[in-house]
């Protein structure tokens, strides 16, 4: 057993994930080892079907690995009950999804506030936190709009606000720029960089978009369920994706 250092947010040891059973088993992950430390801003790339979403789901406690150890914040989450896993997600993880996935009956403000409400934080504190966050994120004045009244980029900003409102240890973002134009993508990434710098929030992204790479402090390439070339610099990757 390895000793856990306090700034180790994620530690994966030989993670395997099989889908299906019988003859049609897909080996989505084939023994991934990964360590993320506090303040990381990591981008994960790789072709379609390489296992990026699967890995993010396992790290976020949305899915369980077939084998291997998943240690989040010093805690082996493989042994947690579903309820404990819910609480782990509530208190440690922020999610941003490709399709925004805002709650349609809640306003921008209420969506951003939702996790804080689940945490049982009192309304005054919630208001203070969410209002300043929406301002920081560039959504002030839009807080009473419902998701359907916002553009894709604005919705994704609300989703980011929702993910970071409770100051989680780790924010997981699965292809969050896939549905917006490149300009919007750029501004979303700048937003997250600033959140990373100001609040020391740890980010893990998956993306197909090479433009994302220039924001990364670290890049991981996932291929056929394994991490390869972990040591590549961003420049090299950019070159390789343009070939």
């Amino acid at each position: 057993m390895s000793t856990v250092k306090s700034n180790e947010i994620v530690l994966l040891q030989n993670i395997k994930k099989d889908y299906g059973q019988g003859n049609v088993v897909t080996e989505a992950l084939r023994g991934v080892d990964l360590k993320l430390v506090k303040g990381d801003f990591t981008v994960m790339m790789g072709p379609s079907g390489s296992g990026k979403s699967t890995l993010l789901n396992i790290i976020g406690g949305l899915d369980r690995a077939t084998s291997g150890k998943t240690i989040i914040n010093g805690q082996d989450i493989g042994i947690l009950s579903n309820k404990a896993l819910s609480l782990m997600r509530l208190n440690n993880i922020g999610f941003v999804f490709q399709n925004y996935n805002l709650i349609p009956v809640l306003t921008a403000y209420e969506n951003a506030e939702y996790v804080l409400m689940l945490q049982g934080i009192n309304p005054l504190q919630r208001r203070e936190k969410v209002m300043s966050l929406l301002q920081e994120i560039g959504l002030d004045g839009l807080e009473n709009r419902f998701p359907r009244e916002l553009s894709g980029g604005q919705q994704q900003r609300v989703a980011i606000a929702r993910a970071v409102a409770s100051d989680p240890q780790l924010v997981l973002a699965d292809e969050i720029t896939a549905n917006v134009d490149s300009e919007t993508a750029q501004s979303l990434l700048e937003l997250m960089v600033s959140l990373n710098q100001n609040n020391k929030t740890t980010f893990l992204f998956s993306t197909h978009d090479p433009a994302v790479i220039k924001f990364a402090k670290r890049v991981i390439i996932l291929k056929d369920g394994n991490i390869s070339n972990e040591k590549l610099s961003s420049v090299e990757i950019e070159e390789s994706t343009h070939k």
Binding site: N57, G60, L62, D63, N82, K83, S86, L87, R89, L90, N91, I93, G94, F95, F97, N101, I103, P104, V105, L106, Y114, V115, M117, L118, Q119, R162, A163
Partner: protein
């Protein structure tokens, strides 16, 4: 509360669906309220028909009289009861009973003689109106007798027939006299039909050598007071007499009324509310399937299954609350109308069952109870019905739901 707000907004995402369900549940509540008001109205009418016939709401006897009906167990202190009845405008009759033999020459039979005051009986009770042949007694009907129907038949007596009467007087002497049949009653109740011979109170005293003797006082406020209320009042005035309500005198009728109303109302209400709650369940099921992805997302960001169950059930509660308010307004409105005006059956001829004539206007009876039962049942069944969709929503696996395409 936040949860209420979220559930409220979710309810109106598909307004047509919600409105249809609310209408159905509201109608169900309204129908149950009206139905109960009418049934309780009918039962109350049946009970008052029974008490008005001859029993009254409360009866007073000397202690132990009902056990052996001895002529010596008579009531004293009657003046107090008379005063109480007068003050409160409660109908009161005094009756005396004695046993004897009655003979028409051809045939004879054992008989219970009733010494009555016809004016009071006609004023406060109905049986005197149920005359089959001839006429009831009046104040001047000395040496006239009114017979129960079966008694008259077994004596082969007709109107005007001369009857010889033998009794044992209270002083031990033999009383005998001649009476003439003035009227024959319709079938009323078995003991009356077979054995009652009604004569004037004055005739009774002469026949039995008694002096203004009273064995029974029957009080009838015709619903103005509760029987128990009258009983309590008189018991406190007359310590040494037995004061009983009609429920104690006829426990069989009381329990039949109770069981019938409990059974009918509960069964009927249950069937209706279960049907309506299936509508609620269907609505929530459809809206749960529409929102699979959303539930997955809120599970992903940390909501517990329990929270999701509460949220879906809250939607059922809000829907039922709204529907109940509408249902109660409609149901109570119509019931109150029916309490005042009733449903008129008089155009369809005389309503009579087993010789008892019913009031042709069927009136509802409104009470708090008729609102409580449907509303409470509706809430309970709706919440139970919401648990199935709620548990589906709560069991959603976040990963699958996020990729779920409806």
């Amino acid at each position: 509360m936040k949860m209420v707000k979220i559930s409220w907004r979710n309810l109106w995402r598909n307004a047509t669906r919600t409105n249809i369900t609310i209408t159905a549940v509201a109608l169900c509540v309204a129908i149950l309220i009206i139905f109960q008001a009418l049934i309780i109205g009918l039962i109350e009418k049946a009970v008052s028909n029974t008490t008005n016939l001859l029993v009254g709401e409360v009866q007073i006897h000397a202690n132990g009289y009902l056990d052996d009906r001895s002529i010596y167990k008579s009531l004293g202190n009657i003046e107090k009861v008379r005063a109480f009845a007068r003050e409160n405008n409660i109908g009161i009759v005094e009756r005396s009973y004695g046993f004897g033999l009655i003979s028409s020459g051809k045939k004879s039979a054992g008989t219970q003689f009733w010494g009555i005051n016809p004016e009071f009986e006609l004023n406060y009770f109905d049986f005197a109106n149920n005359i089959d042949e001839g006429e009831f007694l009046s104040e001047t009907s000395l040496n006239k007798v009114v017979l129960g129907k079966k008694l008259a038949r077994s004596l082969a007596a007709e109107i005007g027939t001369e009857l010889v009467v033998f009794v044992q007087g209270a002083d031990g002497s033999l009383g005998n006299d001649l009476f003439y049949v003035s009227g024959i009653l319709k079938n009323i109740a078995d003991d009356i039909d077979r054995g009652a011979a009604m004569i004037l109170k004055d005739d009774f005293d002469i026949l039995f050598s008694t002096n203004n003797i009273v064995h029974e006082i029957a009080l009838n406020s015709k619903g103005k007071f509760e029987a128990e209320e009258i009983q309590k009042n008189i018991s406190s005035k007359l310590k040494d007499a037995s004061v009983m309500t009609w429920k104690q005198l006829m426990p069989f009728i009381d329990s039949m009324v109770d069981q019938m109303s409990a059974f009918m109302l509960t069964m009927f209400s249950l069937i209706f509310t279960v049907a309506a709650s299936l509508g609620v369940m269907n609505t929530l099921l459809m809206s749960t399937y529409d929102r699979m992805k959303e539930f997955g997302v809120i599970r992903a960001i940390g909501a517990t299954p329990w929270r999701i169950i509460r949220q879906v059930s809250m939607e059922a509660i809000l829907l039922t609350t709204l529907a109940s308010i509408i249902g109660v307004i409609i149901g109570l409105g119509i019931s109150l109308y029916l309490q005042v005006y009733g449903i008129d059956f008089s155009g369809k001829g005389n309503l009579s069952f087993g010789g008892v004539v019913f009031d042709p206007i069927w009136k509802a009876s409104v009470s708090f109870k008729i609102v409580l039962l449907p509303v409470v049942l509706m809430f309970v069944t709706s919440i139970v019905a919401s648990l199935y969709p709620a548990s589906i929503a709560a069991r959603i696996k976040p990963v699958e739901a996020i990729h779920y395409k409806p």
